[in-house]
Amino acid sequence: MRAIEPEYIVMPNTLFTEMPAASIQPAASKIITTDVKAYFGKTQALKGISLHIPENKVVAIIGPSGCGKSTYLRCINRMHEVAGGTISGSILFDGENIFDYDPVQLRRRIGMIFQKPNPFPTMSIFDNVAAGLRLNGRASKKELAEIVERSLRQAALWDEVKDSLNRSGVSLSGGQQQRLCIARTLAVNPEVILMDEPASALDPISTAKIEELIFKLRENYTIVIVTHNMQQAARVSDYTAFLYMGELVEYGDTKNIFTKPSIKQTEEYITGRFG
């Protein structure tokens, strides 16, 4: 496996050139990761990932199973540490080092959607969406109701559940549960949403709904989505990063990555010759 130095990566967009963080407009890069290495005990899962994630765009991370794409995602909101992993390198969020943050505060600004829908089983639909705010001890009853409605509308679930907000969250279908989880994340009003294969456990119709949602959400949020499904990456993302065995192989405009990738490995993966 050939290590690829950042300067060899073709960066069609100036956003991705290796400029020092300070010279980048805040509106340009929401998250800048430099040489991020992640470990599980002695096993190295990421071998130095440097990426700029632009604001209000969708960045897809693709790659074969075990390439470290989920691990990379979980470094950004420091969930990697919860699982007992360690990280080195720097991750800047709005120009600030995320390791200077209290992880709890950081996660309120960087939300996460998981592969399997995971609504809280002891809570109603309403309580699920309100959980983040309620357990952080802010917002009055009236505010809460407004935020819950707004979040459910944003997640395109309101019309389906508005008459049954007191039903259990787990009584919904899988696709609805996932949108409920998205609403729950939106309610905390994050700036970035990390999605770890959000549609891989869902049927095609629910998947289409989630993709539609991602398309809408990018107006207000920065989204990083990990996916196995290359068509999905091509459909929803503005930029695509291809990871292989813990290394970044290529990163660029989604159109370019899928039509004329500059690195042979990317092409082979996209055309299905390996992975």
Binding site: N118, F120, T122, A131, G132, L135, S168, V188
Partner: protein
């Protein structure tokens, strides 16, 4: 094979029904309103009841729960969350050993710890003994039940920016609550049925007392005293007390189940 299973079920269940039937049939003669509201009569007089023992048992269980359950639940949470190390293994090992220790030994410990320093038998000493008896079962069940809660729920909560302690308290514990309740009930039921550790801690009392620093009556000690007494009247009352004890445990069970029932029908899928 299935007939063998049915047979096994019968073997398991029949003794239970026999116990209930036998205690009821033997004690029914003494089961009346007086039994619940009257005090024991002096030797030689017939009639009377066990009001003080009923209240005493309730107080002893209450004291035991206050002493034992918080420790158990916190220890269970600790073992589930941070117990994957040598210290956790040691705590777990001792909890398992403690659950197998004869209850009379726990009684001796409570005698040394409470009765001797206080220079007298007392309800609080009985409560300490029962509390210690509750700890192993309740701790291990709490741990197991918390471990059963899917990790994804914890992650979901943490990813929302909910602090770890709130995640445990408001997300994980409610999910595990039903199982934990079952464990606590087992612990309470065991404590309620203990006689040996009460003999030299709470001692027993033929008079009305609700003070926790004085000897206190309990159903089990009454059963012990009355069953070996040479009076038929007392023997009958012992049977009745045994039946009431079983009934008490059933009632506690039902109340706990009701309090921790599923709020959502659909959860039972």
């Amino acid at each position: 094979m299935s007939s063998l299973c049915i047979l096994s079920v019968l073997v398991a269940v029949v003794p239970l029904f026999l116990v209930i039937y036998y205690t009821l049939s033997q004690g029914i003669g003494a089961l009346n309103l007086d039994f619940f509201i009257k005090m024991p009569k002096p030797v030689g007089e017939s009639g009377g009841g066990m009001a003080n023992a009923l209240v005493g048992t309730a107080i002893l269980i209450g004291l035991g729960s206050i002493i034992g359950l918080p420790v158990s639940i916190l220890a269970g949470i600790y073992l589930a969350e941070n117990g994957d190390n040598t210290f956790g293994a040691i705590v777990r090992f001792f909890a398992d050993v403690l659950s197998g220790i004869p209850s009379i030994v726990v009684g001796v410990v409570a005698y040394m710890l409470v009765v001797l320093p206080m220079k007298g038998f007392s309800a609080i000493a009985g409560g300490v003994a029962l509390g210690i008896l509750m700890i192993p079962t309740a701790t291990r069940t709490t741990e197991e039940m918390i471990r059963l809660v899917p990790h994804s729920l914890r992650e979901a909560a943490l990813a929302l920016g909910i602090p770890q302690w709130k995640t445990m308290l408001r997300i994980v514990l409610p999910v595990a609550l039903k199982g934990i309740t079952t464990g606590i009930l087992l612990a309470i039921a065991r404590a309620a049925g203990e006689t040996a550790p009460l003999l030299f801690t709470a001692l027993g009392n033929r008079f009305w007392s609700t003070e926790i620093n004085h000897p206190i009556a309990s159903l089990t000690v009454f059963i012990y005293d009355y069953a070996k007494a040479p009076f038929e009247d007392w023997n009958r009352q012992a049977w009745a007390a045994a039946f009431v004890l079983i009934l008490l445990i059933v009632i506690v069970n039902v109340i706990f189940r009701f309090a921790t029932r599923d709020r959502y029908e659909s959860n039972r899928t």
